[in-house]
Amino acid sequence: MTGKIDAQSLSKTYVSARSGERVEALQNVSFSVAPHEFVSIVGPSGCGKSTLLALVAGFVAPTSGRVLADGAPITGPDPRRGVMFQDYALFPWRTVLGNVEFGPLARGATREAMRATAHRYIELVGLEGFEHRYPHELSGGMRQRCALARLLANEPEVWLMDEPLAAVDLQTRNILQDELLRLWGDGGDPGQRRAVLFVTHGIDEAVYLSDRVIVLGRRPGRIKETVTIDLPRPRKALRNSAEAGRYNEYIWNLIRDEAARAIVEESA
């Protein structure tokens, strides 16, 4: 079975440079993401969900196991797998336009082509008129849109998203969730959708957006359960539905105890 992304028996152990202490961030994690599938990863803090995304992005190498993209082992970052970061990681010295142009620039597009691509995606995320603003001149929601446009401008086959909506307020988050679904093709042809791996600590967000939700436990991070969200698309009408609520409750029950323990341990 070859998916767009296949993680096989992934383990990651960090060794603290100062104390030499070994921390097992992930233990024997296997999953796959199908070509047009939206998969979320949820879990309490300390479950290694961001580590998992960094492994799939190719930023770090696993201690054991491997990740395949289209059947080939991942050895480093690749523009076919676009990444969106929690803090957006926009280049502060580049304007909105400059940020969105960076992917095409890096891949050797001509000046005209990269400008045209950038403008198209800036318009798509609703940032037209803000092309020449620097990131520090944008609101949180606008920065998030800019990061999304930057990712999309490279037309990646896989979207890797590390808590991209964690830093915006609740109303903005709801709006951006709908935007994300629209850009992904929630209401359209499933064949046009990209594979998405979406890390979040918001269970309701994961349920609302995803085809499947991978629930991680903590210390060490491992898969507790994979929940298939069997809700029709488009999802817009289902945000506050009873069905979505049942999924939320089910997943919450899976991680509640560990989440409570995480609070105590994090503060210790």
């Binding site: 690749d78 676009g82 990681a89 280049f91 502060p92 960076f102 520090h136």
Partner: protein, 258 residues
């Protein structure tokens, strides 16, 4: 309102100048103590015969060349030290020990190696300008958000583009801060170096006389205290203008900084 506010300091300044003039004239020690009208006369004389402009531009030229040399060697080394950790660990003990030696302490060595020509002064200036560039560029390159590097790589950037488009712009504000300090150091040490190189150059009939050398000849040959004060004022005004220009440059080169 603004004109009114300027009135008090301006009035005080005028009174102070008048008091200074009166005090020196009444002391009868005009050869020893400078006074305002004397400074003014020295200014008109040296402007008319062109010596002030020639010496100032000579010193500035040395500073600019030394500054450029310091930047050319200091920025690449600093970026390398900051971005490639082993290089930083290997080199920083040497850099740190060398930079704690005041540049002007090198003057005797520079005179020995390079003679009493402009090159010795150039060496001192380049040396003084070098270290602020190294230290600040290293810090700017070291303090980088790894996510920015990762973001660039995930967008398809290779090593060269990461350095050019992420590491360098990230270090630029720190490098420009280093440039301001370098410029101040360079301008400070050119005067010291030229003072030390001194009068022999002038007796050699060389045209390459900087402000410091002009001060030496003004002190020992002309014995003109008013001239000395004039050069001090020129040095101060140039420092001020240089820093003003550097700050402007910093702001226009890093528009993303609030």
């Amino acid at each position: 309102m603004n004109a009114r506010r300027a009135l008090l300091p301006l009035g005080f300044f005028t009174v102070a100048i008048l008091a200074w003039q009166a005090a020196v004239l009444h002391s009868g020690q005009r050869a020893l103590y400078p006074y305002p009208t004397g400074v003014f006369e020295a200014a008109t004389r040296t402007i008319e015969d062109g010596s002030l402009f020639a010496a100032t531009s000579q010193s500035l030229l040395r500073v600019l060349i030394g500054f450029a040399l310091g930047a050319a060697f200091g920025i690449p080394l600093g970026v390398l030290m900051g971005f490639v950790r082993p290089v930083g660990r290997a080199v920083s003990p040497i850099v740190d020990s060398l930079r704690s030696i005041a540049p002007i302490a090198w003057i005797p060595m520079a005179l020995l190696w390079l003679g009493i020509r402009g090159n010795a002064a150039l060496f001192i200036v380049a040396y003084a300008a070098f270290f602020p560039f190294v230290v600040n560029a290293a810090q700017g390159a070291r303090l980088i958000d790894r996510n920015l590097v990762n973001a660039a790589r995930a967008l398809g950037a290779g090593r060269a583009l990461v350095v050019r488009s992420v590491v360098l712009p990230n270090a630029l504000p720190a490098i420009l801060t280093g440039a301001r300090i370098s410029m101040a150091f360079a301008w400070g040490s050119i005067i010291a170096a030229e003072l030390a190189m001194g009068i022999k150059v002038t007796s050699g009939g060389s045209g390459a006389v900087g402000l410091g050398q002009l001060m030496v000849s003004t002190l020992y040959v002309r014995r003109d205290v008013n001239g000395l004060v004039l050069y001090m004022i020129v040095i101060g005004v140039i420092s001020f203008l240089i820093d003003l220009a550097m700050r402007r440059l910093q702001r226009s080169l890093t528009p993303w900084r609030t």
